[in-house]
């Protein structure tokens, strides 16, 4: 039973990060109908910025803030300089351009920082509290939950309570009508990208310390898990992204704990197949047959 609790908490803390990352994917999908395959690479770039800033100033929090700001700016830059000019007649085009951005980002990071793993610091200790002999959560895990929770709350408020959020939703769902009603559709799109990239950077900051270290390809595997999470939850649904992230985190933890680490990717595939064949639009899809 100890083991079960341990695996559950281990899975939840990883799942929280997947959830944050999946949220970033969902944000862009809702705003622009693009799955941003460059999300992982962009997040890694932000973490490198944090690494440099922390290295120069010695302050984790300055680096943390720098990463979020850089993510925000990078999102704007990518949208304004590249994605805006993509021909959206086929959903494929956006995907391919994003893949191109992944290559460029990883190549440039490799040139600037080299291809070695860089250690990243954590603001809180990572050794777990013992509760009745069971190591459950570390301070760092609590920080992860808190950060992801704050993002979820903030986004929910933004989309349901503020005019900007409403405009963003309108611009995404009915761009032509919104434009007629005076919503700056282009600006809303940029805002969506900026927000998403910042959330992605946050997820990167949270996940990299728990992995092998900082490396240009550090987020590749995380991206696959997070994408799975977003698809399982339904790309349209922020609630779905969070749920999907936690499900994927738990599944990976249980499977590698009880069956072996090698089986985990197969379990993820199985989960995807079962969910998608049961509900082709994801668990939380609202509309029945949204085509691409």
């Amino acid at each position: 039973m100890d083991r079960f609790f341990y695996l559950t908490f281990d899975g939840l803390s990883r799942g929280a990060v997947y959830a944050a990352f999946a949220l970033a994917l969902v944000l862009i999908w809702r705003a622009a109908r693009i799955v941003n395959f460059a999300q992982g690479a962009m997040a890694v770039a932000a973490v490198y910025v944090a690494y440099s800033v922390t290295g120069a100033t010695g302050s984790y929090w300055l680096g943390f803030a720098a990463a979020l700001v850089f993510g925000l700016l990078l999102g704007i830059a990518v949208e304004k300089a590249v994605m805006r000019f993509v021909d959206h007649s086929s959903p494929l085009n956006g995907v391919v351009v994003a893949l191109g951005l992944v290559l460029i980002t990883q190549g440039v990071l490799g040139m600037v920082y080299g291809n070695e793993y860089r250690p990243v610091t954590t603001p809180f200790r990572r050794d777990a509290f013992d509760v009745g002999g069971i190591a459950l959560l570390s301070r760092y895990d609590v920080f992860v939950f808190a950060a992801v929770g704050a993002v979820v709350v903030a986004l929910t408020l933004l989309f349901t309570r503020t005019a900007a959020g409403l405009r963003m939703r309108a611009a995404a769902f009915a761009p032509d009508v919104s434009r007629l009603l005076g919503v700056p559709v282009g600006g809303m799109l940029t805002l969506g990208w900026a927000l998403a990239a910042a959330v992605g950077s946050l997820a990167g900051m949270l996940v990299v310390p728990t992995e092998l270290g900082l490396h240009p390809t550090a987020m590749d595997v995380v991206f696959v898990s997070a994408f799975t999470a977003a698809v399982v939850g339904g790309l349209d649904s922020p609630i779905g992204a969070v749920t999907g992230g936690l499900i994927v985190g738990l599944l990976l933890s249980y499977v590698s704990g009880y069956l072996g680490a090698t089986v985990a990717p197969m379990a993820v595939l199985l989960l995807l197949v079962v969910v998608l064949l049961g509900r082709p639009g994801g668990l939380f899809s609202s509309s029945k047959a949204r085509l691409a």
């Binding site: 085009n93 995907v95 191109g100 290559l103 190549g107 490799g110 977003a230 089986v263 064949l277």
Partner: protein, 339 residues
């Protein structure tokens, strides 16, 4: 190697009968290609032959993928895994029976079956959901090989027993012939296939599923069939890569391979076999060129990373400037625009 995708549906309808007469049967392209390859393998030094063979092996899979993605609109990020299926089947069959044709047949058969399974699931999914499923398929290869390591020998992979090439043929020449035989037959069959009713159905489903259904096209069946055809191509390509490498291992079929395949067909020009050929050449030439450039610069950080950046920049630029791909760039169009 016909130009399989009409540019403007409206124009095409009128000019079709006229155009059809002018276009020679794809078999002539295949024959011309075979002659060219035979001549080239005679003159090229061994390493160039090996690269030529690699182009052939890549062309086999990109040709199938461009039909699936370009003509039928299904995006697969998992073709690397299908290639791995073909390669492993080939390796196991070859090490057991040591009969080349039999091993190729086995690789084709098994990948076709895998294609049916994935295709059945894929036919229910659209856009990013399909991409997500195939992405998970691409990632699962190392996991499968380590879980069943008695058969697949985990990360180490299998080495493949190959008979020496017949007669005095050099190994690299023999590999080039094998790969291009596979590639040209694949391309020929695909070209013939998409010229006919099947090709029309593919495009109809891609452009508008509802309209296609109204017109009597069986949408799901067409989609599954498209997936199966392209899976078979991937399987053959995987087997050819196994011949080239004389070994298979999961590391040779990483996620990046699947992504590179998609990029290759997009850069080349979606839905065109000529584009698939362009893409296959780029897959071989770009990394090699970038590596040379990196070596000349003498900086270790540039090596390898430069290839990534060049590939990325080419991809983005092509997508933004010429969404039809490199194969759509014509001197005549440029001239016409200038005038």
């Amino acid at each position: 190697m016909t130009d399989v995708r009409e540019k403007r549906a409206t124009e095409a309808v009128q000019s079709k009968a006229f155009k059809r007469k002018k276009t020679p049967h794809p078999i002539w392209y295949a024959v011309a290609g075979a002659v060219l390859v035979a001549a080239l393998t005679h003159y090229l030094p061994p390493f160039r032959n090996y690269q030529l063979a690699t182009v052939g092996a890549y062309f086999t899979v990109t040709a199938g993928l461009t039909v699936l993605t370009g003509l039928n609109g299904q995006l697969s990020l998992g073709h690397g895994a299908l290639m791995a299926t073909g390669a492993y089947t080939f390796a196991l069959a070859q090490n057991r029976w040591l009969a080349l044709p039999l091993s190729f047949a086995a690789a084709l058969l098994v990948t076709t079956l895998a294609g049916v399974v994935i295709g059945l699931a894929a036919a229910r999914l659209r856009g990013p959901y399909l991409a997500g499923l195939t992405l998970a398929v691409a990632v699962v290869v190392p996991s499968v090989t380590s879980t069943f390591d008695d058969t697949f020998n985990s990360d180490m992979g299998l080495s493949i027993a190959l008979d020496p090439p017949p007669g005095a043929v050099a190994m690299e020449q023999w590999q080039a012939w094998l790969c291009w035989t596979g590639a040209l037959i694949t391309a020929l069959l695909l070209a013939v296939l998409v010229r006919g009713r099947f090709g029309r159905d593919l495009r109809a489903v891609r452009d508008d599923e509802t309209a296609a259904r109204l017109a009597g096209v069986h949408v799901a069946r067409t989609q599954v069939l498209a997936f199966v055809v392209s899976a078979a191509c991937a399987g053959l390509s995987g087997a050819l890569f196994a011949v080239l490498a004389q070994s298979v291992s999961p590391g040779a079929f990483p996620l990046t391979l699947s992504l590179f395949l998609v990029m290759a067909i997009v850069i080349g020009g979606l839905g065109r076999l000529a584009g698939a050929l362009c893409g296959a050449v780029l897959l071989v030439a770009l990394p090699a060129l970038a590596q040379t450039a990196g070596e000349r610069s003498g900086s270790q950080r540039l090596e390898g990373n430069l290839a990534l950046v060049i590939f990325g920049v080419v991809l983005v630029v092509v997508m933004l400037a010429a969404p039809g791909g490199l194969a759509s760039l014509r001197l005549s169009t440029i001239f016409r625009r200038k005038r």
